[in-house]
Symmetry: C2
Subunit: 340 residues, 2 copies
Amino acid sequence: MLDDRKLDVLRAIVEDYVATHEPVGSKTLVDRHNLGVSPATVRNDMAALEEEGYITQPHTSAGRIPTDAGYRLFVDKLSTVKTLSPAEKKAITSFLAGAVDLDDVVRRTVRLLAQITRQVAIVQYPSLNRSSVRHIEVVTMTPRRLLLVLITSTGRVEQRIVEQTNDVDEQLIADLRSRLNTALSGQRLTEATTSLAAVTDLFAPADRPLVAAIVTTLLETFTDEVGEQRIAVGGAANLTRYGDDFERNVKPVLEALEEHVILLKLLGEATNPQTLTVRIGHENPFEELATTSVVATGYGSKSEALATLGIVGPTHMDYPSTMGAVRAVARYVSQILADT
Amino acid sequence: MLDDRKLDVLRAIVEDYVATHEPVGSKTLVDRHNLGVSPATVRNDMAALEEEGYITQPHTSAGRIPTDAGYRLFVDKLSTVKTLSPAEKKAITSFLAGAVDLDDVVRRTVRLLAQITRQVAIVQYPSLNRSSVRHIEVVTMTPRRLLLVLITSTGRVEQRIVEQTNDVDEQLIADLRSRLNTALSGQRLTEATTSLAAVTDLFAPADRPLVAAIVTTLLETFTDEVGEQRIAVGGAANLTRYGDDFERNVKPVLEALEEHVILLKLLGEATNPQTLTVRIGHENPFEELATTSVVATGYGSKSEALATLGIVGPTHMDYPSTMGAVRAVARYVSQILADT
DNA sequence: GACTGGCACTCGTTTCAACTGAGTGCCAAG
DNA sequence: CTTGGCACTCAGTTGAAACGAGTGCCAGTC
């Protein structure tokens, strides 16, 4: 079927096309890569590759371009993930080191990823799923208005306002605050949800309405956030490098970037930082993004991913470099988060 | 100079060009708007308007398009800000009403603004400048690691981590927490900066190092945030409606959107919600955005603006509607924030 | 004096045919 | 199996001609 040389030809076609964005013909291919055979031979190989569905011709008198299947084979078998240079690695650490809080880590990561891959970068905020309660604070803003602040082990801070019809007793609040913290501190959010129910019972019936209101809001915060995931996006300006065919290549991506739900689906399930997910062209679940590829991976801890980050770009991207960059950034962010 | 009819002609030209995005000639102008005169007369008026610099011809055998000066005159003298329909107003309130915290208000606002203006929307987070301290919380995460949480009157929550080399005394922290709050609660951040200095002196010399570390971090938080302003952006997909000339119209805007510092300059000084700032084409401070206009206004309270919001779009936008939408959204957001 | 119809003129756009050339498939020879 | 040769295909380019939207100007009219 496909002997080694045919695979070499495919590799050469992919690399050439990624570099030039122009259909590549047999002659130029032989000129640029030293394949050691004549154009005619390459033509035969090309015919075979086309037969197998790895490359295609935009029109009869043009060169070949890789199909999604061609890129897939290239990524799986014909290339190795490129590692970053020491200088780049150093740049990453120093860029991420200056972050002051979790939000800042995410913002910096997205910016960094966009910059080194020159693609659109997407970073999902660490999910609350796997994180645990570090501290719960109840603050009286006015006698009838309370602010709940939930601080998680990943450094995320969630806030909710609770309104009351009667003035609340400051002593009760202090009591509640300490009980909540003893009951929930250190627990996973999913576990905390069950523990919360028991807390109400600790209070005198007269105080129950207030306690119940707060418990309910807290419960919402836990579960809401488990479902709704936040996302940061950056590097949209890189879309300008997509070349022409604006309507087909740029517009759908720009639209997708606004819809965070779509982005979450694109990123897919969080995998651990060892595994890179590459979705090429039509492999992704959106028809409009058929000319777009996604490179993503999880980040968090070695064994268990907190969330996903990745990039979105044209199918004709430089996969080895991009994959290397995504993997490297994910690892460094995991490290930073582990330290915090 | 410019009698009423010439101004009518200018108005017609602007409206037509905004609708069609094509140079408008004397004949079509007479056809579409009932000016009550012949094309020849309109041509004379056009010649006068061109002489004055309000319109121009892309090339000899084409119609006229408004210059920046033409749009300026149109906005200042020839149009009135369009008010929203009751249905639209209702949509705005119901869309903003569901917000759970300040971040959510800002995210919703940006989305809303992008949707109704069909332009790129920019919303600056309420600045800390004018806001005051509502509560300061000091939480021990581990014996040597503290988390500071600052809650402001605008509902903004800032967090900072403080590391210590020795274990900290829980009692001291409680003491510090209460003193900080009594000393600073209700104060403007700018005032609080001065009050902070006095707090250290209240403690025994042995405790000073810890207190000083916390005070310093708090000080940084106050002043950092006064300078660095956060921004939310939305509706970038609307850029696809810019038509062709991608390189000139879309790319610079997309690049500017990444640079929040640039956006802040574009939005300009916060004005109160009564005043709309319109910057047309070259009037804005960036050469690359010469084909772009900005419509912005302040929001917060009636008398004093907390921050700015607005939209960025092509110079040939529908100013009356856009201005109306920006103004309306600013007012509703102000209202929501006042309630919180 | 302001408006209007008529007319010559300009110049970007469209149309169409001819040309060019990169690239292919196939075949016969090495 | 590889290779040089060759006829063929077809998107893109080029150039000339036709087109037409729009203009400025002028002489006549109200």
